[in-house]
Amino acid sequence: MALAVMALAAGLVLSRAFVRAPRVERPRPPSPAAPEQLRPAVVDADFSPPRAGEAVTVLYRAFGSAVEMEGEGAAVGDFNGDGSPDLAVGVRASEAHAAEINDPLANWTVQDCASSPDSHVAKTRPSSPAVRNREPLLAVVHGFGRRGWRDPEARQAYLMKGALEGPWRGRSRDHYPGLDAPEARALGDVLAGPGSRGEIAYWTGERYVCRSATAARSAR
């Protein structure tokens, strides 16, 4: 027994005195990025327009019963610049659902064209703190992966109040050299508004900004 205890003690002392070299953080070999980290996030994305009923299904997935589709038009494009197709649709706040839309914990983000940095747009919009029942809105659903807005996971959604009513369409940012200006920060395709007033909306990384199309078309 005594021998065993002595052996144990000797082992302990020996281990501390001789066995334990300073511990060194093991350097790792240089690690090039894995192929999945180098390739674009989305390849062969499906930018085809919505078939009958598809937009309504997507709106319900993102907003439940809070909004109703207004008209037939729907715009498809990569509005947030991540390579995945997004969908924009004119909608109207459903009757008696304004409180749900304005809920601070809603599953979507409400933004206001009247708070646009473009003074022309801001001046022509009534600014109100909240969405009203039956108020027209522009709904945007960001896509996920190759299937984009059709993917069941695609639920990141925005409601823009103060946007012009009518069919919006997706256009390449190349049509708007004015968006190269330092303050613009347009990251993806542009949403072009209806009618002769000429208005666009684009994604800055955090929000959609409304702007006069005429100004955006002019190179600086």
């Binding site: 501390r16 066995v19 511990r23 953080e25 790792r28 991540d82 330092p182 990251l187 955090e206």
Partner: protein, 398 residues
């Protein structure tokens, strides 16, 4: 004879196993300050008097005679790292810009950092045409960063390997300037551009204040044009070490223990795990044992920092959560649209959220996550209003 064999084997086993068995469980890292007094306390790396002296250097206002500029963003470390105490966060952002040519990000001429101030109007930097990639970056918390530096790089790799496919954080290695630029697992900065606090300090001293040091001996240009601040380089020989020592000696951001103890916050904490936030906003990491040589030989983990349990609510890895920021720094082109998971410790002191500070509401910040975080955020969307409130209450206790 057989008895002696047993003893010999026992001796060997004891030698090899007992030291590990006797190793203490990791201790909780100390808090940076007590919420009652708001006095910054050393974590034991240095004595309180030394810590206070280091803090004074961290708070010191630099002027032209000290080498400030020619271009800069602030006059002291504490100008950007101050809330609610020196070393914390602030609303101050820096501006970065460049160009994406369809394949690669290309730095703005003079570098992606566009300084907001200059010692002469002629030196003022501006974003030049053709640089359509632009982002703001908020100042980061530095409290507890000594513990972060003491995390073994292999721990970060193990964290990444343990994350689900599709959400696996990218581990990169970056140069440690004080170790002849040998590389180590990155962990500091929005793009994980640094692995050591000394390298970070020298970088920030140059890029945020325009003050050169032995590790960063050349002043920045103004949009690529060489301009002179009139002070010979290197402009300061010792402050970088003192900044690093201050950050290494800070405790971790303390939680609001009263709020954290409420039933709602505890329910929110469970929901944080349940929906999957904790996959990237990792709760627990243990630092390397005291005595471990890190930073490619430039630093040994002290007893004050070694074998400590920290709760950063971050994984110190890069992820694409759909927010950009489009800039490449030390990590190569694959990191262009990735940012480091924001460690959420101390987030209750922050009201401008995400890398650009552009989101000012907790719910909207959560909803702004996409990309790798999509399934987690959809789990959040499926919560009821009461549950979302509980989760946000939990965040407000951090």
């Amino acid at each position: 004879m057989r008895g002696l064999s047993y003893i010999a084997v026992g001796t060997l086993l004891a030698g090899s196993l007992l030291p590990e068995a006797l190793t203490q469980a990791p201790a909780e890292a100390p808090a940076a300050f007590s919420p009652g007094s708001m006095t910054l306390l050393t974590n034991g790396l240095v004595d309180q008097a030394t810590f206070d002296a280091d803090r004074a250097v961290f708070e010191e206002q630099e002027g032209r005679d000290d080498g400030l500029g020619p271009v800069y963003n602030a006059q002291s470390c504490a100008e950007c790292h101050q809330n609610p105490v020196t070393g914390g966060i602030s609303q101050v952002t820096e501006l970065r810009a460049g160009h994406f040519d369809g394949i690669n990000f290309v730095d703005h001429v003079g570098g992606s950092l566009i300084n907001d101030r200059a010692i002469d109007p002629a030196f003022q930097e501006r974003v030049l045409g053709g640089n359509e990639v632009r982002t703001f970056r908020t100042s980061l918390n530095t409290l507890g960063d000594g513990f972060v530096e003491a995390i073994d790089s292999n721990m970060l790799v193990a964290i990444s390997n343990g994350q689900p496919a599709g959400m696996r954080g990218q581990f990169i290695q970056v140069p440690v300037n004080e170790a002849n630029n040998a590389v180590r697992g990155a962990r500091f900065g929005w793009k994980n551009q640094h692995a050591s606090l000394k390298s970070f300090s020298a970088d920030a001293y140059l890029n945020e204040m325009g003050i050169t040091s032995p590790l960063q001996p050349r002043d920045n240009t103004s949009n690529g044009t060489v301009v002179d601040d009139g002070v010979p380089d290197p402009e300061n020989l010792e402050d970088v070490d003192l900044f690093a020592e201050f950050m290494r000696a800070t405790g971790v951001p303390p939680r609001d223990l009263v709020l954290a103890a409420t039933a709602d916050a505890q329910a929110g904490s469970a929901l944080f795990n349940q929906v999957g936030c904790a996959i990237c906003h990792l709760r627990n990491i243990t630092t390397a044992p005291a005595g471990t040589v890190i930073n490619q030989g430039a630093l040994t983990v002290s007893a004050a920092l070694g074998n400590k349990l920290i709760h950063p609510f971050g994984d110190f890895l890069l992820h694409d959560v759909g927010t950009g920021d489009g800039i490449v720094q030390n990590g190569g082109q694959s990191t262009r649209n990735k940012v480091r998971t924001a460690p959420l410790w101390g987030v209750r002191s922050r009201n401008r959220l995400m890398h650009d500070g552009a989101t000012v509401n907790r719910n909207e910040a959560i909803l702004r996550h996409a990309g790798e975080a999509t399934s987690v955020i959809n789990n959040y969307r499926n919560l009821g209003t009461g549950q979302k409130n509980q989760l946000i209450l939990f965040l407000n206790s951090l």
